[in-house]
């Protein structure tokens, strides 16, 4: 096997090895399946409950996407505002950092009081947890604009809006798309957190229910599905990133020689 094929197969080999070790450990040490079910048991549970699991996976997926979409819209708007004006930046930043420091688990009960149990708290938790990196990255993209380039344009009589449209916004693209990868996984975490606390659907809800029924293989089946969904969403946005900002990968941002 050549080195490059080995490199390509490495992620698969590593994942399979992990499952093999897990399975072997469970069998060799005769671990009680109630403590740690072997992967074979988890996969069996996944197959057995495949239809309900699919339905709940879909609920988790769409609530995550809904929250994430809100975060993207809100994050871009706020990021542009923060990057536009130093006054807005200075005014908003402490509040935003404070808000970001609050564990979002603590907010879920409030959302439940306001909106009741269901999808809305999950969507809002996903949104609240994931907009921050988008704001920060968009604002950073604007703030790191080359001052000389700004001089070139200002000397031509460009207004602030011209500079934003011609340079600022295009150059935030790699920052924005880079942040989407992070934001989507955060949104996913937010949804599941909310589902485990107050929900009647979704993978988080399934895992809590299975746990209270002592169905540990099903809990682990839920866990594995969460991981798969997380990887899939990350992969989608990594692909989106490299598609839309190919120029940024090919050149240093300054385009210096």
């Amino acid at each position: 096997m050549t080195n490059s094929t080995l490199e390509r197969l490495a992620p698969w080999l590593f994942t399979i090895a992990l499952f093999v070790i897990w399975e072997a450990a469970c069998r060799i040490f005769k671990i009680d399946p109630f403590v740690l079910p072997a992967p074979s048991e988890a996969f069996a549970a996944m197959y057995q409950y495949r239809w309900p699991l699919m339905r709940h996976s879909f609920v988790t997926l769409w609530t995550t996407m809904a929250g994430f979409t809100l975060a993207v819209v809100f994050g871009i708007v706020l990021g542009l505002m923060v990057g536009w004006s130093r006054t807005i930046y200075r005014g908003i930043y402490p509040v935003m950092i404070g808000f970001n420091s609050i564990p979002k688990v603590a907010i879920v009960p409030i959302l439940v009081v306001w909106f009741g149990i269901g999808e809305i708290p999950a969507i809002l938790t996903a949104f609240l947890i994931s907009f921050f990196p988008i704001v920060v990255n968009v604002a950073t993209g604007l703030a790191t604009m080359e001052p000389e380039l700004e001089d070139v344009l200002r000397a031509l009589g460009a207004r602030k809006l011209d500079i934003m449209l011609k340079v600022g916004i295009p150059r935030t693209q790699p920052y924005l798309f880079g942040s989407l990868k992070v934001a989507i996984t955060l949104a996913f975490v937010g949804t599941v957190v909310s589902e485990t606390i107050a929900s009647n659907a979704g993978l988080g809800f399934v895992m809590v229910q299975a746990g209270s029924n002592f169905q540990m293989p099903l809990v682990f089946a839920g866990l594995l599905l969460l991981a798969v969904e997380g990887i899939a969403m990350y992969a989608v946005f990594a692909a989106v990133e490299s598609h839309f900002t190919r120029w940024a990968f090919r050149s240093s941002m300054s385009a210096a020689a």
């Binding site: 001089d151 000397a155 460009a158 011209d162 150059r171 120029w247 050149s251 385009a255 020689a257």
Partner: protein, 274 residues
Amino acid sequence: MFPARSRGNKFAAMSLVDINRVTLTYKGASGGVLALQDTTLAVPQGDFAAVVGPSGCGKSSLMKLVTGLVPPDAGHISVFGDPVVGPVKIAGMAFQNPNLLPWRTVVENVLLPLEIVEPHRRRFRSEKAKYRERAETLLNTVGLHGFADRYPWELSGGMQQRVSLCRALIHQPALLMLDEPFAALDAFTREELWCVLRDLWQENRFTVILVTHDLREAVFLADKIHMMSARPGRIVLTRVIDLPRPRELDICFEPAFQNIVHELRIKIAEVRKA
């Protein structure tokens, strides 16, 4: 391609750029830094002026003052006879870093000023083909034939700097401001670009203010060299370069050329010590 400005018009007797006893202080965290003090400088229309001096002498401040990006604390600046109160809009600028936009092709980078400067801005959409042709013509004259649709990262540093020069000239500015444009290039590429700039200027006779550290560059290109003192900057010497034009690179090895460079070099050493 540049509109010929007749010698007999009302500006003929006047300097294109007139800097009169200008003082500029930068407000820093630890008090103000006096960048320029009592600086006086005049550049006649169509002249090639070079500004040389030790590093940190406020040469770049001069650029910002002339283009109206920064107002002076005292003194008076006029361009084309009008006092400078805001961005002058008739200037093209190029810097040490080419600062091209990596998401735009070469020709789109060159066209950028036309999307901003009136009256081109208004016509840009309807006459895009005409403007594109103009940009390609300009790219050809700096030796970038066939590179219009490449991206900046596909070009070498010297080629990027050529694009940057084209971008500074595409809107046919009356004044070209260059801030150490060739400082980051290797010696051979730099000399090549001297010739590119020489030819562009020879053909179109815009007014140039070139800020540089390189005395040979200044002597080769300029009609007049203004030397600045260490901070706070003042003009301490103005030397007319009367070497015949057009100048070829070989002139750099002639005694007359080398004497001027030597003379300036001695003066710089004095200024740095002072």
